[in-house]
């Protein structure tokens, strides 16, 4: 073992010491500094070659400059074509020497030009950086380097990986490097035996990426290895099939929770109060715009609070939309109780007015609502990729549901509300101010639609049309679940979500949506009161 590691170390040294002078002799190409300077005038193909040469110098000092290249921070000065890393410094750019990191003074923006980079170059650079940083003293950097090699397999990296592997002591990094080695080995000219072991390593790695790697070499690999390859691929695939099922359920729950969010406010205004509220979607939209306004205020006043912006937006959205709902109820709807058709037309008119108002104030284009860092990206759970924003929305919508249930069942206000909806005259005789309860209930439904808007702003466009895309779905959920029953809304939303997501992979998104609607129509024919029908005198009244 020690002998082997010594040998590899020796080998690496040999390669590195060969590489550097061999380019040194070929004229100006030698030291990394002049290689970087040549990037100024290079097209994409030449740049790719230059990066290869820069990587071949093996000089770790080039890493920051390569990183800057990927990030698009590499510039060249127009006057002398020298390449620098540039950082914003007020209205000027601060120029930094690509190798030494020493400042080379400031320059106005128009005196420098960006060194252009495209996807292909980014891939090449990442691979090169992976090779160069495998021996870094920093564990995280080594892990990243092994990842980079793993993602962009190339036989050139093989020796570097093996040298690093020999020195590696950290278990996790070592495992990652083993995988990286296996990936690089497959496309090299090593022996069949070594390749067979590599296929097994990659097979154990699992996941879609592993299949991709294995398939990519299937054309060029030795015939005798084909059965191993096919076996590895099929065993990964059978495992993934199971995860696909789980994934569909998760996607369904996630879609269901979005439906629940959109519908839960309507479950109160339409479900409990019986108002056909076409302006419901606009309440969601107002909630999303409240989030936008809050975020804008935070951006300009207290950027450090950005991760809290959603928490701050929640009460704001609730109050804004609740207030708007209150005004609508007092101003329009209360004159129309018992006249569903007029209510429908009036609330629809309100929805158009609200849309155009927002359009006039904020303009017709989408507004940017940022995702706080804890809502970006994803994490892996077994073979499942779960994105954080979907995950939090599921949690959020369920907690709103629970909170609403508690308010309805446990609070004095909830008791009043149920009393009024079940028997208005008797409630009135008992001294409950029914008009006041009506107004508050409508405001509550609107307010909840508003906080749904806060959550939906994270996954959808914030534009004046936001509400329109949710109104039909919301009615669908409430009618399907059973009017007047919160549990029905929950079960309805989740089951429609899951149904949709199981149909989508096989029949496509367009047909899937149509099928769901047809199924609901058939279901309503059979059970006109939905999944959980209310029973008793309140229904007959």
């Amino acid at each position: 073992m020690t002998l082997r590691s010594l040998f590899y170390a020796f080998l690496t040294c040999l390669i590195l010491s060969f590489a550097a002078p061999s380019f040194g002799q070929s004229g100006a190409g030698g030291d990394p500094k002049s290689l970087f300077d040549q990037l100024a005038k290079a097209d994409f193909n030449e740049a790719e070659k230059l990066i290869g040469q820069i990587a071949a110098t093996g000089d770790p000092r080039v890493v920051p400059a390569l990183q800057a290249f990927v990030d698009g921070d590499l510039y060249f000065r127009k006057s002398d074509n020298l390449v620098f890393i540039a950082k914003a410094a007020g209205s000027n750019l601060e120029l930094i020497d690509p190798l030494t990191g020493a400042s080379a003074g400031e320059a106005p923006k128009n005196s420098v030009t960006k060194v252009r980079v495209n996807n292909n170059l980014r891939r090449v650079i990442r691979s090169a950086m992976g090779g160069l940083t495998l021996l870094s003293p920093d564990r995280a950097v080594r892990l990243q380097a092994a990842d980079a090699v793993l993602r962009s397999p190339s036989p050139e990296n093989l020796e570097l990986v093996e040298a690093a592997l020999a020195k590696e002591t950290d278990g996790e990094v070592k495992a990652r490097m083993e995988e990286a080695r296996a990936v690089s080995l497959l496309s090299s000219d090593r022996s069949v035996g070594e390749k067979r072991a590599a296929i097994e390593t990659i097979g154990n790695l699992g996941g879609r990426d592993a299949i991709g790697i294995l398939r990519s070499v299937s054309g060029s690999i030795d015939e005798s290895l084909k059965p191993d390859l096919d076996h590895a691929i099929s065993s990964i695939e059978s495992e993934l099939q199971l995860w696909d099922m789980v994934q569909n359920v998760w996607y369904g729950l996630s879609l269901g929770s979005v439906l629940l969010l959109a519908a839960i406010g309507l479950a109160i205004t339409f479900g409990v109060m019986g108002i056909i509220n076409m302006a419901h979607g606009e309440m969601v939209m107002l909630g999303a715009y409240s989030t936008f306004v809050v975020q804008e205020a935070i951006r300009s006043n207290a950027p450090g609070l950005f991760d809290w912006s959603l928490a701050i937006a929640l009460p704001v959205a609730f109050l804004v939309t609740g207030a708007v709902g209150f005004v609508i109820e007092r101003g329009v709807i209360r004159f129309l109780y018992g006249r569903p058709l007029e209510t429908l037309l009036a609330t629809w008119g309100v929805s158009l007015i609200l849309q155009q108002t927002i359009r006039s104030i904020f303009g017709p284009t989408n507004q940017e609502v940022g995702n706080p860092s804890w809502m970006s990206g994803s994490f892996a759970l077994g073979g499942l990729t779960i994105t954080w924003n979907r995950m939090w929305i599921v949690v959020f919508s369920l907690s709103i549901f629970v909170a609403l249930l508690v308010v309805m069942k446990k609070s004095a206000y909830g008791l009043n509300m149920r009393a009024v909806t079940q028997n208005r005259r008797m409630a009135s005789s008992m001294g409950i101010k029914t008009p006041w309860v009506d107004a508050l209930t409508f405001a509550l439904g609107s307010g909840i639609a508003g906080i749904a808007g806060v959550a939906l702003s994270q996954i959808d466009n914030v534009s004046p049309n936001l509400g329109q895309s949710y109104i039909i779905d919301s009615f669908m959920v409430v009618v399907f679940g059973g009017v007047g029953n919160l549990w029905g809304t929950l079960v309805g939303a989740l089951s429609l979500g899951v149904l949709n997501k199981f149909l989508e992979p096989s029949v496509g998104a367009v047909l899937g949506k149509i099928l769901v609607l047809v199924l609901i129509i058939l279901f309503i024919q059979k059970r006109p009161r939905g999944l959980f029908a209310l029973k008793g005198r309140a229904v007959e009244a």
Binding site: F44, I211, L214, S218, V258, R359, G363
Partner: protein, 429 residues
């Protein structure tokens, strides 16, 4: 949804038609032009900007002394994203307001809706948006890109530069994506791509739950061949699509997405940090480094009094169309439709990417194709620019239109001449 949208559109239209900018102040010494873009409804998000551009261009032209010694006057109407209403408003512009030409429409559905009106009343429409081709009308000028000026060069770029071998054609379920994907599929197959390496996927308008499709794309991309997505996803659906891509960790270096409907304006509602490297193909980007572009951007910021407003490709197409019309009118010495139709063919005007665009006999124009990569600041970095390409109305890759050509010069004067049979009148007649 549609029912509601329609009724909503009708309602708004009813309100607006009473208040619309009728040419009440019209004087004898002005030339009127119509601006037919939705200012309300779902398409307002895209079309309002074009209305503003037209008003700016008219203002600039009037500063230069107008056309034929008369001031221009823009008549703005709002067809409210409602396709039949487009036809009504077009009729109103031509018959009541007597406009000399109309600049407008965004969706193909709206263009198809007004086409018979323009042909019947013999007026001129300038259509500034990229579209699926397969049309050439005597009365319409298509200043946006035809598929060969956008889609095919983009696919070529991916094939040659990125070495893509597997293709996902994802689009919204309507005429532009379907026709474009049909052309692209035929094109890819002619380049030797097998049909199992092409996945076509359609989604409804305003689709917002992309989890399944993005994971399907991931799955499709794990076949060991370099994979790319060609997106004809329309408008609003793009934001949740890109968000899902970013969250599921699909980077442009792994599976690049090239889009034909995503420009600076669409990216304005999005954090583009995780999207760096995804591509778009257009004939213009705001980042074009040309003096004429810098001047245009400056004018635009001054006109909108907002130096954050971006410029985009349909704005350039509107700019080219307007200037071509001005030049043709000045050459003809009149705004009479037939005279302008004759004089406009062959007219060359500067475009915003530093070259010139020429109006061709098929009523399409020449322009370069630019491929850009999305940057963290919401702008595009141009990674490839072709020389000017002539818009091809009848695709060479569709079996029933490859023999058709269009030439509106006399004596042919035909929009669908079949070179195989030697007769005018094929598809689309």
């Amino acid at each position: 949804m549609t029912f509601k949208a329609k009724l909503g559109g009708a309602l708004i239209a009813a309100i607006l038609s009473t208040t619309a900018f009728h040419g009440a102040f019209a004087q004898e010494d002005t030339i009127k032009i119509g601006v037919l873009h939705s200012l309300s409804g779902t398409m307002a998000i895209s079309e309002t900007t074009l209305k503003d551009v037209m008003l700016m261009l008219v203002e600039e032209q009037n500063k230069k002394g107008g056309v034929l010694g008369k001031k221009l006057e823009a008549v703005v109407v709002d067809p409210a994203s409602d396709w039949p209403l487009f036809a009504e408003k077009a009729r109103q512009l031509i018959s009541q307001d007597k406009v000399a030409a109309v600049f407008g429409c965004w969706t193909s559905s709206s263009r198809k809706s007004v086409l018979p009106v323009f042909e019947e009343l013999n007026s001129i429409l300038f259509y500034p948006v990229q579209y699926e081709g397969e049309e050439s009308s005597r009365n319409i000028f298509y200043t946006g890109a035809a598929p060969n000026q956008q889609a095919i060069p983009a696919v070529d770029y991916l094939m040659n530069t990125e070495g893509v071998e597997r293709w996902v054609l994802a689009g919204t379920d309507y005429v532009y994506p379907q026709t474009t994907n049909k052309i692209l599929k035929a094109y890819l197959e002619s380049k030797g791509v097998k049909s199992e390496d092409i996945m076509i996927n359609y989604t409804p308008f305003g689709h917002s739950d992309w989890q399944t499709i993005v994971s399907d794309i991931k799955k499709f991309g794990s076949a060991g061949k370099k994979t790319a997505v060609v997106s004809t996803i329309n408008g609003d659906a793009n934001v949740p699509f890109y968000k899902e891509l970013a969250n599921q960790g699909i980077k442009a270096e792994d599976i690049p997405v090239v889009a034909f409907s995503v420009g600076e304006e669409e990216l304005a509602g999005l954090d583009t940090g995780p999207l760096v490297g995804h591509l778009a193909a257009w004939n213009y980007f705001q980042s074009v480094d040309a003096p004429v572009n810098a001047e245009f951007i400056e004018q635009w910021h001054a006109f909108t009094k907002n130096d954050k407003r971006v410029t985009n490709d349909p704005m350039e197409a509107a700019y080219i169309g307007f200037n071509a019309w001005v030049k043709a009118v000045e050459a003809a010495g009149t705004t009479d439709t037939d005279a302008v139709l004759d004089s406009i063919i062959g007219v060359s005007v500067p475009n915003l990417s530093g070259g010139t665009s020429t109006v061709m006999p098929n009523h399409h124009i020449t322009k370069p194709v630019l491929i850009g990569e999305i940057q963290a600041d919401g702008q595009f970095e141009i990674v490839q620019q072709t020389p000017a390409v002539v818009g091809d109305e009848w695709s060479d890759y569709l079996p029933d239109s490859k023999d058709l050509i269009s030439d509106w010069r006399k004596p042919m004067s035909c929009g669908n001449f079949n070179v195989a049979t030697g007769k005018c009148g094929g598809k689309g007649s």
